[in-house]
């Protein structure tokens, strides 16, 4: 900028003190809060002595440190404003003196600081004028000095303005003290749980490695299940959450067992006497105050036992995940999803989900809760991954590495709950988000994985519903399906010709047509063989699957066909479907239904 005389004279440098005072007020408030937090942290460490307490104290300590940094860095801003005010005041003073000097010598100061000296008088023709060339020369010289002073004043003000601006900008620059802080804090503004996975992936990629490490250390719970983050990041975060939860739950159980032991010792006769409630015993004139106290102690036993049962249930769920995560299965495992609230949700990856060219997600059916099913689905996922690895190793045509995901990411129905589609309708968006997250995480690295969804039983309904939405699924494989929630494959967003269905002999569930027509019979679906026999990928005979739960069985034709699709070798799928008693019965019912004019649902 070019500083003008009018500009500098119009400034009120002393008023910058008011601006600096505003900065100081905030600094004082931040310092007070920071100091107060110190007291609360010390108190917290006295009253919450546990693993969780240490974590919580660590978190608030980090916030306190950041507050201290803010307070500390408000100081330079305040000093910058005050220094600029002083510099402007000095420049203004110099400019005023320059103006006075010019005026005293009949000079005129222009707005750019230059000074027009008085002109030498000119005598009228024939007249005379009394003037002193020496005096005039002195005036001109003084005016030149005034101009120099004015220039110095304007330059000083310009420089002070520029320096102050530079200093303030340095404080907010990425490598400045506040700038680092602001960057660190802004990076903590994590996307919400339901954020668009593509945006999540872009946000993560925008962080520096140091910022990413800090976030993983600070916010494992918030990162672990964030769709769009790399699986490797989620693994680190979720393993920490799992370790903390296991510690916490074991400590709870130990405390509750100790309590129960003390209660048993104290009240061996009344401890196990059910039936009386505090309300009963509080009836006036019956047992009085002592009875209420007694009831309280009886309830103590009952409630403690209930709490112990719940803690053990949660520990069993967490331990099921921990066990599978650490079980050697021939391919590296990662903890992709962990919800520690009973009945829990979890997903374990086998292989490198961030780099694999082929990624398959296993979606289980009814009764598949973390505690009871994590082992089975993990074994299935690892088996598919291992077979895919073998196929890739033994085939001249390469499609790249494969990773699988054992996904218990929805609350599966249990028992009679299976009659409703509600569990699938709630689970489908979760599955869709998972699929979009896998795609986005690889997409951020410039990769586009071949993504397959493997839906078994009720899981085929979850998969089918998810596949009707905006999902990046390349192949959809349904087996043992009681219906996938669609009447036509055109309802799927999967490319035409990329839906496969399998039905094992004796699988009555696959003949139920409970949630739509049997996918095996849907036009546009490629049925695959499950009866055993020669398979081109195996280059030999394979085993038959029977019933509802052998689709992933080792060496089965079903597993080879699943692996063929997963590894993007669908041309190797053995096509066809056995027709068993269930199919004949369905046909018969359909005929009867038509003959009788009955509405038999999907028939």
């Amino acid at each position: 900028m070019t500083m003008r005389v009018s500009t500098l004279l119009g400034w009120r440098p002393s008023d910058l003190g008011g601006s600096a005072a505003g900065v100081q007020r905030v600094r004082a408030a931040v310092e007070e809060a920071e100091s107060g937090l110190g007291i609360q942290i010390r108190r917290l460490e006295e009253v919450w002595v546990s693993e969780a307490g240490a974590v919580a104290a660590g978190a608030v300590k980090r916030l306190r440190r950041r507050l201290a940094e803010v307070a500390e860095n408000l100081g330079p801003a305040r000093r910058t404003l005050l220094a600029a005010g002083d510099a402007f005041a000095a420049a203004q003073g110099l400019l005023v003196r320059a103006g006075d000097l010019a005026a005293d010598n009949d000079g005129v100061m222009r707005d750019d600081g230059s000074v027009v000296p008085p002109a030498a008088p000119v005598a009228a023709p024939g007249g005379t004028i009394a003037w002193s060339p020496t005096a005039h020369a002195a005036q001109v010289s003084a005016c030149a000095d005034a101009a120099t002073m004015a220039r110095e004043a304007l330059d000083a003000a310009t420089e002070a303005d520029r320096d102050a601006a530079r200093a303030l900008r340095a404080l907010t620059a990425g490598d400045g003290p506040i700038g680092k802080l602001v960057t660190a804090i802004e990076s903590r503004a994590l996307p919400s749980a339901g954020a668009d996975p593509v945006e999540v992936a872009a946000w993560w990629a925008s962080l520096s490695p140091a910022e990413q490490d800090q976030l993983i250390a600070d916010c494992p719970r918030r990162l672990g299940n964030l769709d769009g983050l790399p699986a490797a990041v989620r693994d680190v975060a979720n393993r920490r959450v799992l370790a903390d939860a296991l510690l916490e739950e074991r400590a709870k159980i130990a405390a509750l067992e100790a309590l129960l032991a003390r209660l048993m010792l104290a009240m061996p006769e009344s401890f196990d006497s059910p039936g009386l409630s505090g309300g009963d015993l509080a009836l006036p004139g019956v047992v009085g105050v002592e009875g209420i106290a007694l009831a309280g102690e009886r309830n103590a036993g009952a409630v403690a036992r209930q709490a112990l049962a719940e803690a053990k249930e949660r520990l069993a769920m967490l331990a099921a995940v921990d066990r599978q995560l650490n079980k050697p299965r021939g391919v590296p495992a990662s903890l992709f999803l962990l919800d520690t609230t009973v009945p829990g949700r979890a997903a374990i990856g086998y292989g490198d989900l961030d780099a694999a060219a082929n990624v398959a997600v296993l979606v289980p059916g009814m009764n598949s809760r973390v505690t009871n099913y994590m082992g089975a689905i993990s074994a299935n996922a690892a088996r598919v991954a291992r077979l895919a690895l073998d196929i890739e190793d033994n085939n001249p045509v390469k499609t790249g590495a494969t990773a699988t995901l054992a996904w218990i990411g929805y609350g599966a129905p249990v028992g009679a709950e299976v009659a409703t589609t509600a569990f699938a309708e709630a689970g489908a968006p979760r599955l869709a988000s998972t699929l979009n997250g896998l795609q986005a995480a690889q997409g951020a690295l410039g990769q586009d994985p071949h993504l397959t969804v493997l839906g078994h039983s009720y899981g085929s309904l979850v998969s089918g519903l998810a596949a009707t939405g905006d999902v990046p699924v390349d192949d959809l494989v349904l087996f043992g399906s009681p219906g996938a929630g669609v009447r036509t494959t055109e309802a799927f967003s999967v490319p035409a010709g990329h839906v496969y269905a399998g039905e094992a002999r004796g699988d009555f569930v696959a003949d139920l047509d409970a949630f739509g027509p049997d996918p095996v019979r849907l036009p546009g679906v490629t049925p695959f063989q499950t009866d055993g026999g020669f398979h081109p990928l195996a280059d030999g005979d394979t085993l038959a699957s029977a019933g509802h739960s052998e689709y992933y069985a080792e060496d089965s034709e079903s597993l080879w066909n699943i692996a063929a699709v997963v590894t993007d070798r669908s041309e190797k799928v053995t096509v066809g479907s056995p027709k068993d008693a269930g199919d004949w019965m369905r046909t018969a019912l359909g005929v009867v239904g038509v003959q009788k004019g009955l509405n038999l649902g999907w028939y």
Binding site: T7, D15, L16, R43, L44, A56, A164, A266, A293, E297
Partner: protein, 107 residues
């Protein structure tokens, strides 16, 4: 494990209050005051504006995080109340009932 739920809640409340009480508004006033002091063309104003916006964002975020920490801690206290904390209180009550405290006779 040693947990005092009531004290936890108190700490949580105070930390929340610190978070909610963090007021960055005077920084906005600092910009207004600077504009009034330096009318016309000054490089300081835009630089100060940027500095204040960034710093206010930092303070406001810290305030929000402190308040959230307070809420989480209060929730944890409630969780303990449900299990360990509750159990601990029963142990204490029982101790009083056994004659170690006032107002209760042994049962």
């Amino acid at each position: 494990m040693d947990v005092d739920m009531a004290a936890m809640r108190e700490v949580a409340g105070r930390v929340s209050a610190f978070g909610e009480g963090l007021d960055s508004e005077p920084l906005g006033g600092a910009v207004t005051a600077a504009r009034a002091a330096l009318p016309g063309d000054s490089a300081i104003i835009s630089a100060l504006d940027g500095y204040v916006n960034a710093t206010r964002a930092a303070i406001d975020t810290l305030g929000t995080e402190l308040a959230a920490w307070g809420r989480d801690t209060a929730d944890s206290a409630s969780d303990y109340a449900e299990v360990e904390g509750w159990a601990g209180s029963q142990v204490r009550q029982l101790g009083m009932g056994l004659g170690t405290g006032p107002g209760r006779r042994p049962v």
